[in-house]
Point group: C2
């Protein structure tokens, strides 16, 4: 059995290396590639992913897993090997259900869909993407049909990103959250908005980038095992446990852009850097779900990086870096500026309070489309209607409406959005639990010390990789199932104080 | 047959894409990779190369080639398809002769050998690399034994890099060249050396890099299909016909370092960028040999980039870029400085006249080792003896002696060096032929115009890729076999004038 386990691990390592090599090509595409490289980069990346997929659905892996399953059942259920076999089996069962031809057809379609969207968006041309979206929806529903017996047609997609979560459970939780958020947004936006003009002065780009880098070094992002480059859209990407990179983008006239994306991506990257080294190249060797991943990025970006205590330490440094721009701006003014709540059209620019409303609109529209209740041709109008209802505003066009996000044009309709809000909810839970274990975390943050928080996350979340599901992690950390209560409390406290709410 | 040819091309394209993906990993290793990524990058690169190799020696390829050979024989012998089938067959016959286990063993050994060398060189510790070199020599001889019937034991290695050339032929030609060079070096170095202190002032690195980039844009290196980055050692690397990159290194206190390495690598890169687009992903889609590759790089670096006419155009621009440093240095002084001939120990720093002496020492030592006439333990002394004899100087240690070059520590003993001097010789031939076709090339260069030269090279050399062997190219361009005469004439003219020789 040891030999079979070893063979499984050898095969998984090879698959991992093919995927990681494809990731290097993706990173290069988004950072340094000259335009002439696009076609071959795309082809090479497609080849590596196909080879990885072929190797994973090889019946020899199924046979190894069949042989190893009884062995796993005799191991302690929480042992690494038992979990490795179990998680690999789950992945394998999922992978073999979908015919390889479906996957290549779908990816070929998606490549065209993405190309069409990049042209359609600036031209506000929903009609040209409409047939692609219709086909994407068709593919998305057919994908789910490979998993008969689902409770909701979105569940097979949600399983890919947030394993174990169900559409109905998420809908219910999101409904509760919306009930809290809509009145909170109203209470806040009934008041005069804070002055955030300090953020929109001229800030030299190199100095902005260097400032963000200094902070994430303090966080504990390991630059010996990563680096930051510029790219059109910020992302985190992993080539190995020893090389987890982030990218950012910088706007000279908007201090928020580079800074908060750097903190956010560092949160993703520290998760991957913190995974137990022995899991590398196995099914356990990455973050367990979109939701838990996003909990780490949002925790570092928002709960830490937009907190008063954090800026008590860093604002004097920011003033030193940009003395001309900030000499007349007080800490309080700056803190209010970076936490300004407003009804806006763009998800990625949204503040902590309204952000989830943007997500829940998209999640609900996804479900409706998958259920067959919302035809693509009615999607633009449905988008506007929901924005009007939930956020009280409406985009004058589809550019900042249904053409806004890349997700449905570069992937499936299904499973794409819930992770963001799950992440926010879970960040509240985890931070609350960390504070209970280490009450000094908040005072540490005020001194620019992050070992207590980072250490807690590493020990309780990061190190485990995919050994535990989202639900298991939450249960083991909090002793209870997922709940929105700590997150709501966090928002109420923070924004209650900021906006002097009763 | 069309279908079989198509299948062959599809298989070759997949192999090419695996090799190119490995190249992206190599490039990343040398440019941006954080130290933590080294192990996985090495593993991933090894995997991709192994998969490419496995796919190439697949008997299915042999079968396709067997089937296609009679078809090729009925095609016009210089047609692309005939040549493609013929060159692929040659590669295939070469590849299947060497057992895959030999290759993996050899590469595993080389990885250790290289690691040992990186530590041994700064410590002048020949003893620690000695057992590795002995093993490398053993592997190198065993490799040749897979090709029984060779004329010289080095020939199978030379075939890998300079197909069709033979050790005995090269030795004879190098002997003629040495007979010319040794007295020329003596004549020159008997005179007082020119003052080259202007090169060793403080030159800001970014300005140095930008200056080199402007020149190679004028040359015709296409930045839409390439880019330049910094790396510890300059190199050219290709990810596709649309993405051929170069690297350079820069020294603040030595103007030669970045500038001439940029011109040199651009020469390599323009060759690859200039290959006929329809050859991409086939056996014809790269430069035909080390020698022809080096002829392009040395032509642009030396024949163009160290010529008086070139600097008539660019020296005023260089003075504009570095006015403080160069305002009191005349064009003549600068031109003499960049062409200073001196007896030196380091190959990569050598001038045009002495450079080939460095190469020929290494080539002769390689032959002697492979022939079994020079045991590794006698190599350091043999190195010193030859330097004393050919260059009149001797390194005080092995650091700048036998530990100097990476080649024997990161590759075989055999085939490693002849390409450099072949390249110099061929650059003289090609430039001579180009001038005969387009006498205006020299006046064009004086105006910073390179279309006539670049166009000639593209049409006569670059475009053909591996369609023709080195010998065939030379024969078709000059109507004669390879000869050293034009190169010797070039050196005599240039350095005769520079040093007022009779």
């Amino acid at each position: 059995m040891e030999a079979k386990l070893k063979e499984l691990k050898t095969r998984l390592m090879e698959i991992y290396d093919l995927q990681m090599a494809a990731a290097i090509i993706i990173w290069d595409q988004s950072t340094y590639m000259p335009s002439g490289g696009a076609a071959a980069h795309g082809r090479q990346q497609g080849l590596l992913n196909r080879l990885a997929q072929e190797r994973f659905i090889d019946p020899a892996i199924g046979k190894l897993l069949d042989d190893l399953l009884p062995y796993a059942e005799n191991l302690p259920p929480d042992s690494d090997d038992a979990r490795l076999i179990q998680v690999t089996r789950r992945d394998y069962e999922q992978a073999i259900k979908v015919p390889p031809e479906f996957i290549s057809e779908f990816f070929a379609h998606i490549a065209q869909s993405y190309q069409t969207w990049t042209k359609a968006r600036p031209e506000n041309d929903f009609n040209s993407v409409k047939p692609y979206l219709e086909k994407t929806l068709d593919y998305s529903r057919r994908y789910s049909d490979y998993f008969p017996g689902y409770e909701h047609v979105a569940d097979p997609w949600i399983d890919r990103f947030d394993y174990g979560m169900k559409a109905n459970q998420i809908s219910k939780m999101f409904g509760e959250l919306r009930k809290e958020l809509v009145p909170l947004v109203k209470q806040i936006t009934d008041q005069p908005p804070p002055d955030d003009s300090c953020l929109f002065q001229s800030y030299p780009e190199d100095a902005q980038l260097a400032f963000g880098v200094d902070i994430i070094k303090d966080f504990g992002y390991d630059f010996d095992r990563g680096r930051q480059d510029k790219s059109p859209h910020p992302f985190t990407i992993k080539f190995s446990l020893g090389d987890v990179r982030i990218t950012t983008r910088v706007k000279e006239n908007d201090l928020r852009e580079a800074l908060f994306s750097t903190l956010h991506e560092a949160g993703h990257a520290m998760y991957e850097q913190g995974i137990d080294g022995t899991y590398e190249g196995t099914s356990l060797g990455r973050g367990t779900s979109s939701g838990v991943h996003e909990s780490s990025s949002r925790l570092w970006e928002n709960i830490v990086g937009r907190s008063k205590g954090f800026w008590k330490h860093y604002y004097p440094k920011l003033q030193e870096t940009f003395p001309e721009q900030l000499k007349d701006t007080s800490l309080e003014t700056f803190y209010r500026a970076i936490n300004k709540v407003e009804r806006s059209l763009i998800r990625t620019d949204a503040d902590e309070v309204t952000y989830n409303l943007h997500i829940m609109i998209r999640f609900d529209l996804e479900l409706a489309m998958l259920e067959g209740k919302l035809p693509i041709e009615d999607l633009p109008e449905a988008w506007h209607t929901r924005y009007k209802a939930d956020l009280g505003i409406q985009s004058p066009s589809n550019v900042d409406g249904v053409l806004q996000d890349i997700h449905w044009y570069q992937g499936a309709i299904g499973g794409m959005f819930q992770g963001y809000t799950l992440g926010n909810i879970i960040s509240g839970l985890f931070y609350d639990a960390a504070l209970q274990d280490h009450p000094q975390i908040q005072s540490d943050i005020e001194s620019g010390e992050f070992n207590s928080l980072h250490g807690w996350l590493k020990e309780n979340v990061y190190a485990h990789g995919r050994k535990f599901t989202t639900d298991e992690l939450i249960q083991s950390i909090t002793g209870k199932p997922l709940t929105i209560a700590p997150y709501i409390k966090y928002l109420r406290n923070k924004f209650g104080e900021l906006y002097s709410l009763s």
